[in-house]
Amino acid sequence: MGTEVEQGTTIDAERLAAIRADFPILAAEPAGVPLVYLDSGATSQQPRQVLDAEWAFRTGRNAAVHRGAHTLAGLATDDYEAARERIARFVGARPERLSWAMNATDALNEVGLSLAEANRAPAVDPRLRIGPGDEILITEAEHHANLLPWQRLADETGATLRWIAVDDDGVWTEADALAAITGRTRLIAIAHVSNVTGLVAPVEAIVAAARAHGALVVLDACQSVPHRPVDLDALGVDAAAFSGHKMLGPGGIGVLYLRAELGDALPPARVGGSMITTVTMTERDFLPAPQRFEAGTQPVSAIVGLAAAVDYLEGVGMAAIDAHELALGRRLAEGVTAIDGVRLVGPRPGAERAGVASVIVDGVHAHDVGQVLDAQGIAVRVGHHCAQPLHRRLGVAATTRASAYLYTTEGEVDRFLDVLAGVRDYFGAR
């Protein structure tokens, strides 16, 4: 890594400046004013180290992996498998438990499609069996990516989709979860950290309850893996998904984590080359995981880029990043709560929340709020953030969300709060 940032428990001003200098886009002025990028929850920006790693791969080692026998193919395969090991180490997973997808949505669909296929087979592996009378449990706050695949799985298998309801703030508790997990629960799919409310799910308690009832746990780790230390093997979840583009990596790479028992039992949703042993015109046999889930040419350059992103994140230190973002989350929550006519969604100030704050501005539509912020160079996301049911429950069609990352400064948060405080006046909403 070019920049010398040492692992620590916090990110001080000097280190923050060094980090920011690694991200070319943070110096851009797309709206004619300095960019204040508070939309990392949607997609993060990339440091030059990631771009450099991909460039080096593409201009010096690019070839088809696990197919070619020539030297270049060997180099590419080495990079490919080294990247898998690197990313696996980052999330506390044995390498063979990770396979690749287009994005996290794709990875979650892969699990849902595979489970549906497994349950159409005449003899279903009992660990995978889901049917009428069984329940699939999610929460009312899920991202559509962690909702639609389970709706469909329930529809296809005849199981019932149940959900943990949220309160007026969009919050649910460990007690709510434990009350909902019963002997009928066959699969639990939850976001580790909510992309709207910043709520952190009690994964350990949920996994323990699931184990006790023989249910599978699927973790949507899209908003946790990029921002805090996560050890998937230790958490004991059965499957997990996250996206490279939310963690300093390139687009086009999602990661699917599958415990060994699941990896070898699930029929692959995507079939084709490089994942088979023997193929005849009518029959096919599949390789074991992870290759089983890697049909066709994989996004190797993006995987190499993601490994570089992971190097970068660990160079800074995930504990330090977590502390930095929790502090920003606090600042956001407190700052927003102090503004008249602005309602904070999610955990109250003081309660744990990731570095994200979604707000409702009385009398002003989120789109208009976002426009006023954008005019000052502040990029936030407005809309339902792919969580329509949650927004319906909150009684609005859209919220305005500011989300932070390791490169976000307190000054940027303050700038956001400052402009936000003036929005209602601008629209005469008093």
Binding site: H365, H367, D368, Q371, A375, G383, Y426
Partner: protein, 147 residues
């Protein structure tokens, strides 16, 4: 600090966003359209009644940003009395103006108060908001005529 949004949020727009001219679902009606912008959740339900090839009445209900609500309000103020063909010309003129990215000159004569939306052209992501009610009318007119 000069207001970079002055071109977008014209006085007339902010005023119409509050006034909500024509809000309410008229009865009877010849056609109704419900449209939604999935990105931001803006919604509109619009009804129209025709008489002798002219728009006799128009009413709407909806929720959304100030641009989308103001544009429904302006439409409701301007549409009644227009011949269907003339309404179509106006809708098309507004669409062209808004898609021009600021390159086109607005035809005040033709567009009336809707020229206030000329500034939207420089905010491509808001074009759909400004067009929502107008597209709903366009589709409703087709439906009404098809009956």
């Amino acid at each position: 600090m000069s207001d970079p949004l002055a071109g977008l949020y014209q006085e007339l727009i902010l005023e119409h966003a509050k006034r909500r001219e024509g809000e309410g679902l008229i009865e009877p009606y010849d056609a109704e359209r419900f449209l939604k912008n999935p990105t931001c959740g803006d919604e509109i339900r619009l009804r129209v009644r025709l008489e002798d090839g002219r728009i006799a009445a128009l009413g709407w209900e909806g929720q959304g940003c100030s641009i989308s609500q103001a544009s429904a309000s302006v439409l409701a103020e301007e549409a009644p009395g227009l011949a269907v063909a003339d309404a179509r010309v106006r809708i098309e003129a507004l669409r062209e103006l808004l898609r021009s990215r600021g390159a086109a000159e607005p035809d005040e004569q033709l567009l009336g108060d809707a020229v206030a939306f000329a500034g939207v052209a420089r905010f491509p992501m808001r074009v759909k908001c400004a067009m929502l009610a107008w597209v709903a009318l366009e589709e409703a007119l087709l439906e009404a005529e098809a009956r």
